[in-house]
């Protein structure tokens, strides 16, 4: 593969590469849609029908499915390819991540509608930021150049920082935004430095060229390995892998809950997309060097995430720690560097997006006006106040525990089987032990909802406030729970989707 770098000669016009717009179609639709909505929002400040913006966002997201399907069929018949001067790649893998992100955007947008009304924050900005952020994530998934990865990462992140601080009047939200921003900027710097080192040792930022170079040259100095380490730090931060997870609980807790839901699903999918493409595909020849690092990250994420979740009393914080553990499972698939491992990681991200957005949707509803109280006590006796909500949350929690007939079980099953196939028995066993530890706090939440004893004398009585369920939130929950159960029963088609979503061979 040849790098078609636009050479600038003095006196000659700049040679621009041919742009095949369809290849960045999904991200493009999100970006253009976001811009259009921003403009429309300026002119239609007043008098918009309820749910217009949320509906528009859903329509934009669904529209983005069209180029995704188109590309998927193209790949199926003509194979994966690169485009736009080799800067982006079109393969099953990128389409899969696009679909994950689209699903997350649909659910998060539906959820946001009622939330913004409840908090008196109505407007287009939240949706626009979500669309921009998602387009960055999609760009990361289809990047074939380290610079494009960085571009996507920044588009994703900057919008997320703003989303985290969207509830300006609440201190927690401000704190989350500033914390996320400072640490995120730091991690971006790490990532950029990593790009520099990789460029320095291979002479290119194009993934295809790097892969070729690494195949034909054996590097003995530590420059490349230093680059690997820094890239892992930068992306490890985004996916909240231990030890780069410190921001997660605070940011997840402080951010507006729909933003948390979005962040948890999309940032993780995008971060892992970049990690998988860079390491499993581009740096494949050096996998003996990076696999031990990923192994260690996986073990740390699994154990630290699960153990620290056990001691949390705030549900948002608990879900934040559990999302760290979930990152650990994806890392288990990643660590194998095999086709099954990548497919498993993809399936996990897909299933996880629905479970986590669903879970945070329940938290959004329960935590009430002001998004203040997401403590365990707020969930006390939920089964008698809102049986359906409690039941749906129970399904999400059981799915996250890994109980069969839910997508969560199959996701765990997939990554663990990849690990077993790669003879990483120790990792498989550690992952399952982490699942048992995690079961403890998921069940504790179920206990609080269903089995809470009536408050004794002097104790604070269970909350009795009515929990209104907005139409959008209801739809979002229906989609999430539907996916979790249907895929739990009949996973064959999604399994196939993940299996065919292979990385372009470099």
């Amino acid at each position: 593969m040849i790098a078609a770098v636009a050479q600038v000669q003095p006196g000659q016009p700049l040679q621009l590469p041919h742009v095949d717009w369809v290849t960045i179609g999904p991200a493009g639709i999100f970006f253009v849609g976001g811009l259009a909505m921003l403009l429309a929002g300026v002119f239609l400040r007043r008098r918009v029908p309820r749910g217009l913006w949320s509906g528009t966002t859903v329509v934009i997201a669904v529209l983005a499915l069209w180029p995704a399907f188109h590309l998927w069929h193209q790949i199926a018949s003509g194979g994966a390819r690169t485009a736009i001067a080799d800067a982006v790649v079109v393969d099953g893998f990128s389409i899969f991540i696009d679909v994950v992100i689209i699903s997350a955007v649909v659910m998060a947008a539906l959820l946001t509608d009622g939330y913004l009304r409840r908090e008196n924050l109505e407007g287009t900005e939240f949706y626009v930021l979500m669309l921009f952020s998602a387009s960055g994530g999609m760009l990361m998934a289809s990047a074939n150049d380290l610079i494009v990865v960085f571009l996507g990462l920044e588009i994703l992140s900057i919008a997320l920082y703003t989303l985290a601080g969207f509830q300006q009047r609440r201190e927690g939200s401000q704190e989350a935004a500033i914390k996320y921003f400072v640490l995120g900027a730091f991690s971006s710097a790490f990532f950029l430095y990593g790009i520099a080192l990789v460029y320095g040792s291979t002479g290119s930022t194009n993934l295809g060229v790097i892969a070729d170079f690494l195949r034909t040259n054996s590097l003995t100095n530590g420059l490349l390995l230093g680059g690997f380490a820094l890239l892992i730090v930068g992306l490890g931060f985004k996916v909240a892998a231990v030890p780069f997870h410190m921001w997660t609980p605070d940011v997840y807790q402080g951010s507006p809950t729909p933003a948390t839901a979005f962040m948890a699903a999309v940032a993780k999918a995008a971060g892992f997309a970049a990690l998988l493409r860079l390491f499993v595909s581009t740096f494949n020849t050096y996998r003996l060097d990076w696999q031990p690092i990923v192994w260690a990250l996986a073990v740390l994420s699994l154990l630290v995430g699960s153990v620290l979740a056990v001691v949390q009393t705030d549900v948002k914080r608990m879900l934040a720690y559990s999302s760290i553990a979930h990152a650990g499972y994806v890392l288990v698939g990643f660590q194998t560097a095999s086709n099954r491992g990548v497919a498993g990681a993809l399936f996990y991200l897909f299933a996880y997006a629905f479970m986590i957005v669903g879970s945070f949707a329940v938290v959004t509803l329960v935590s009430g006006r002001g998004d203040t109280d997401a403590s365990l006590d707020a969930f006390r006796g939920l089964s008698s106040r809102r049986p359906a909500l409690a039941f749906v949350f129970t399904i999400f929690l059981l799915a996250q525990t890994g109980v069969p007939l839910t997508s969560g079980f199959l996701a765990k099953f997939y990554v663990i089987s990849a690990a077993v196939e790669a003879h990483s028995y120790a990792l498989a066993i550690i992952a399952m032990i982490a699942a048992v530890i995690a079961a403890f706090f998921y069940l504790r939440l179920i206990v609080v909802m269903y089995m809470a004893a009536p408050a004794a004398e002097g104790e604070e009585a269970a909350p009795t406030a009515r929990i209104p369920i907005a139409v959008g939130a209801g739809m979002s929950l229906t989609i999430a729970v539907g996916f979790t159960l249907v895929v739990g029963f009949l996973p064959a088609s999604v399994f196939d989707f993940a299996r065919h979503a292979t990385l372009l061979k470099l």
């Binding site: 059981l398 099953f413 196939e421 032990i433 048992v436 069940l443 504790r444």
Partner: protein
Amino acid sequence: MLGFPVLTALIVLPAIGAALVVAIPRTRPEIVKVVALAVSVAVLVLACYGLYEFATGTAGFQFVSRHVWIKQWGISWHLGIDGISLFLVVLTALLFPFALAGSDAHHDVKAYTAWMLVLEAGCLGVFLALDLFLFFVFWEIVLVPMYFLIGGWGYEGRVYAALKFFIYTMTGSALMLVGILALVFIHAGHTGHLTFDLQTLAREQSFSGSTARWLFAAFAVSFAIKVPIFPLHTWLPDAHTEAPTAGSVILAGVLLKLGTYGFLRFGLYLFPKVSHDLAPLLLTLGVVGIIYGAIVAAVQRDLKRLIAYSSVAHLGFIILGTFALTTQGVQGGIIQMVNHGLSTGALFLLVGMIYERRHTREIADLGGLQKVAPVFAGVFMLVMLSSVGLPGLNGFVGEFLVLIGTFISRRWWAVVAATGVILAAVYLLWAYQRVFHGVPEGENLKFPELRWREGAVLAPVLALIVFLGVYPKPVLDRMEPSVRTLVERVDRQAGTHQPSVAQGGHR
């Protein structure tokens, strides 16, 4: 074989029943009970139909139904029944209507009943599954309804007990999942095709001795927790004591059998050589369980806890019979599973009735009940004697076969285990004496007699207790070919022969 998919129906029917129950409005709990009973009785009828149609004298799987579920992974909806699982299926189908009819939920009948029916579907699934993935799915699914039943409708320490039950069992199944996957992928590595089919995996075994040992260990820990075998039993007393009456009946009657059944179906069948090599260890743990369970049961103050510990002892006998690896021992083990399900299930129901009447389970608070409720005492006596293993009742048949089977192959374990029979008599008779004999005082004077409805529920179980004790031949005949094939398989792989007396016994 047959047009109608009996086995699939056995699993689907209770699941549909659960959905029906959920659909009934909350304000009509009486309909809930009728629907649940109707569904569980229909399941029993289906199971009896299976029993009737079952071809005696064949060792293989019958009523097999097989549909591809996830093609790429070689996973299929594969069900079958043989002499080993047949009676466990019938037992399960019998105990659910028994438990549903015999006790009431004190609140939220709808959810309670729905969970019971989901539990029934899960338990039957475990006994019928012939695909490792399917087996694991059912194995795990069983945890959820049981967790909610204990945690939602149990006694004071219910939340703790439910959590302990879930975490213990899930730890075991976590290891088993890794074991299953390792087994499947090692097989795929050798043969090139991925399959979770039990029979294929057993036929085309492709692992070395030490690998087999690790794999067996992964399965065995999971089963041992479920049984439970001695050092892993600590969840059992809590779960049994805190569970609601029906929960205890099912827990003791069906759930514990999942573990012992797992040893037979997966342990012995997939790893014959390792089973043989590790038999002394498991026999020892079984014997320790018998003695330990009996001694600890004897010193309990709580009647329900006493019966819970007696389960540890009884399950020790089943393990003993299983790992004696003789036809009689294994047969004894299976029939003892059925016996334990009947007698301990009935005992838990009776203790539940005592609690309903007196609101205590403390042995010290009870006394002289025989004077005020002679029929109740008589029923209790009969069930208790079956549990003790009195000749003429079912318990004797099982224990006798287990001890004979063990004596043939492992003499000294049988000798030590035989003392457990005496100890069982000690703790159960002593408990009976304290609860029913003497002069009733205070509250005990007003202890109501057995009601007609309660009697009607108990009657079939009492009849079976006597029938199996007097004439176990139909049961033994149906299980013998399958058991013999299994034991021969172990012998062949381990390079041993069971003594000829163990095969000759035609009863």
